[in-house]
């Protein structure tokens, strides 16, 4: 791309110009009443609070400590979202097709999807780069044990692996197994152990986050 400002050649200048360009744009738009000083914060707060892996983590942590809630989460993900006072969008249109599947000592679940809109992002946030890679999806269906091994997940041969293909109808995500040695942890501490990868089934939850 041709630089708009070819007179500046140094990185420090480039940074200063980028910052100034963004601020110039914002101040002009505010001056003209197109946006307000709060506009940007309002947009970003949506991403910070309304959707993200912290929502999924809260649901899983509660399910780990509360068997009744776990039953509800597995049967009716939306009802479970409502019980935890999660943002409105989660049990509304965006999240209405979410379903969660449970990892056990015998079954390990992995989710994949082919369309970007199928990712259960009210609970997992934005999908990682590799998730949309057709190679990843094809390989995880063909040789899940090998692919999981590459992610550092070693499963014994006795564990069945199930692959769930998310679609516009149902967005799957995973209820991981609670790691051993976490009996004394509170619900909040448990939630911190969870990662988007664990709730996609390509990682196991570790007792201590590293």
């Amino acid at each position: 791309m041709t630089s708009l400002y070819p007179g500046f050649r140094y990185d420090a200048d480039k940074e200063a110009i980028s910052e100034a360009r963004a601020k110039a744009l914002e101040s002009l738009l505010i001056e003209k009443g197109v946006i307000t000083g709060k506009t940007v914060d309002q947009v970003l707060s949506y991403f910070d609070t309304e959707m993200g892996p912290f929502n999924g983590a809260k649901l899983v942590a509660r399910a780990w400590v509360d068997p009744e809630f776990k039953k509800l989460l597995l049967e009716d993900c939306n009802a479970a979202c409502e019980m935890l006072d999660l943002p409105n969008g989660m049990s509304g249109a965006e999240g209405e097709h979410m379903r969660i599947v449970e990892n056990t000592a015998d079954v390990h679940n992995v989710v994949v999807c082919t369309l970007c809109s199928c990712y259960p992002w009210p609970t997992l946030g934005l999908p990682p780069y590799w998730f949309k890679d057709p190679t990843f999806r094809a390989r995880v269906v063909r040789e899940p044990r090998v692919v999981l091994g590459e992610f550092g997940v070693q499963l014994s041969d006795s564990v069945n692996i199930r692959i769930w293909d998310s679609s516009a109808q149902i967005r799957w995500w995973v209820l991981p197994m609670r790691p051993e040695g976490t009996e004394s942890l509170s619900e909040e501490e448990l939630a911190k152990l969870l990662t988007p990868e664990a709730m996609m089934g390509v990682a196991l939850v570790k007792a201590k986050s590293e």
Binding site: M1, T2, S3, L4, Y5, P6, G7, F8, D13, E15, A16, I17, S18, E19, A20, R21, A22, K23, A24, L25, E26, S27, L28, L29, K32, V34, I35, T39, V40, D41, Q42, V43, L44, Y46, F47, D48, E50, M51, G52, P53, G89, G92, A93, E94, C116, S117, Y119, W121, L124, G125, L126, P127, P128, Y129, K132, D133, A168, T195, P196
Partner: protein, 136 residues
Amino acid sequence: MFTRFEHFAATSMMGSSEEAPPREDGHLQFDRDWEKLVFGVAIALSKEGHFEWDEFRQALMHNIKSWESSHELDDTSWDYYQCWMDALEQAVVRAGILEAGEIESCLRRHLDCKGEITRNESPFVSITGNVQPSTA
């Protein structure tokens, strides 16, 4: 099926790794404050109907493609939000919200305030020169 524009806007960009904004652990990843600013402004303007989101995306993809065609793939000067900011300036001018000249003179004021940058006699090229993404 989307209830929130923010959701729609971000999801629409997840189709290709080039177009999708940087992210980490399910969150948008911003390395510099101005990145948040241009991200938020672009979404807010389109949400308010000043320009179509798809129009902005096309401009962004055009900028990314032009960068890629003139740089090696492993070039470390790759800067996603630089392409984003270019696309935002272009969209704002095209939509008639601001004039290119206004942006330039406001930028000059901002840079002059900093007083630490030495410019050659003609540091600015016209923003309008970049406005229309080529259809190629």
